[in-house]
């Protein structure tokens, strides 16, 4: 009995951490190559996103530096709707206007903090509310 409890706890821990490491592997193997000739900055933003949930990332960007942002959902997931806003919540880019494209190249004139918000595209009332999976957000810079 004692050993079966230990096995259950072991599976519990493995199950939880495995999804995070799978997301990290997904980001590295599938998402990172989409940066192409932009050097990855070394930061990792991978979340297990659920339907109806929104994720926001706040990050400083520096004027005069060329950036590429890639947003990659796992293959079986709906497309991701993302917006890039300044700290006054003025929308600078909305991928809805570009067919839910998964990347955005930009350069700012002045350094500032931007807010990137992400959620799954709403596909109508028949969307399965239990859908969830890894969405990676990576940034690259021109050297």
């Amino acid at each position: 009995m004692k050993y079966s409890m230990i096995v259950v706890l072991f599976i519990l821990i493995l199950g939880t951490n495995n999804s995070y490491s799978q997301c990290r592997s997904f980001a590295k193997e599938i998402c990172k190559p989409k940066l192409e000739n932009y050097a990855h900055d070394g930061n990792y933003n991978g979340v297990v996103l659920n339907v109806g949930e929104q994720v926001e990332l706040h990050k400083a960007f520096f004027g005069g530096q060329k950036y590429r942002m890639v947003v990659c959902p796992e293959e079986q997931l709906p497309p991701v709707h993302f917006k890039v806003m300044n700290s006054d919540l003025v929308v600078l880019f909305d991928n809805k206007d570009e067919g839910y494209i998964g990347q955005y190249d930009f350069e700012l004139q002045k350094s500032t903090t931007l807010i990137i918000s992400m959620e799954f595209v709403k596909m109508g009332e028949d969307i399965n509310p239990s859908v969830s999976g890894c969405v990676a957000l990576l940034f690259g810079m021109k050297l």
Binding site: D41, G52, V55, E56, A60
Partner: protein, 283 residues
Amino acid sequence: MKKIISSICILFLLYSCNWFSPKDSKEKKSNENLEQELMQDNTKKMKRVFFELPSPIEISLLIKKSGFHYQEDLLNNVDNLPGYSTSVSRAIALGVYCADLSYASLNEQYQTSIEYINVARNLAESLGVLRTVDQDKIQLLEDNVTNKELIVDIISEIYMESSEQLREQDRYKLSSLMLIGGWIESMYLATQSIQSTDKSNELLIQRVLEQKLSLESIKRVLEDNKADPVISPIYNNILDLEKLFNESIKSNPDDDDFYAKIDFVSFDKLVRKISDIRDYLIH
């Protein structure tokens, strides 16, 4: 009793796939409540908020592009490595050496870069971080040591794998210390060559002061553990640094004369404070 404990374990197992450790802005709801929420007009959404620091690679790139000349003697000496015997000191040192590595590689100091790559990988392994870099890339590097893009790619993998694997192992404090170590070292490298009265340093001074934008993210990274005896002095130092950033930038940022916008007395204190924090971290 054993049956009750087993039942609880099985229930936790069933829910474990939906657990997520980073900060949630709201508590998890039952499936029934989630369905109700989805049926509403969507005025309220479950939202998670993250804050990100600039990486050492990014700050080193900004330094390089501002015309800053490389100085090897600013790097944290690899001879200090044996002194990092605790997991806390190793995590901080890993961030510091990643910053040194970024600085050296972007300045095309290839031999130093190779040396610091090995130091960083060994430190990461000592912290239980496995396979920081694909072996194929290491082999490629051995065949072409002057490939700057490849070196930067390797640095980004070491940094990403180290910080994330520490988080996945529920060692958030160590991950945070690594990030902070990297940021402080990058700021140290940027500030140590500034001659505040030299007009050619204008762009670099500007880049340093722009790092004020990162302070909010830094405070968020440290906040959850700010009562921790290791984190507490670092957090307080960051608050002091924030005051000096504010004092360094005068009240009229739109003044066309760059030097009229800067309080150089406060800026010099800022540079010294960064140096003091760096010394605290590496010793």
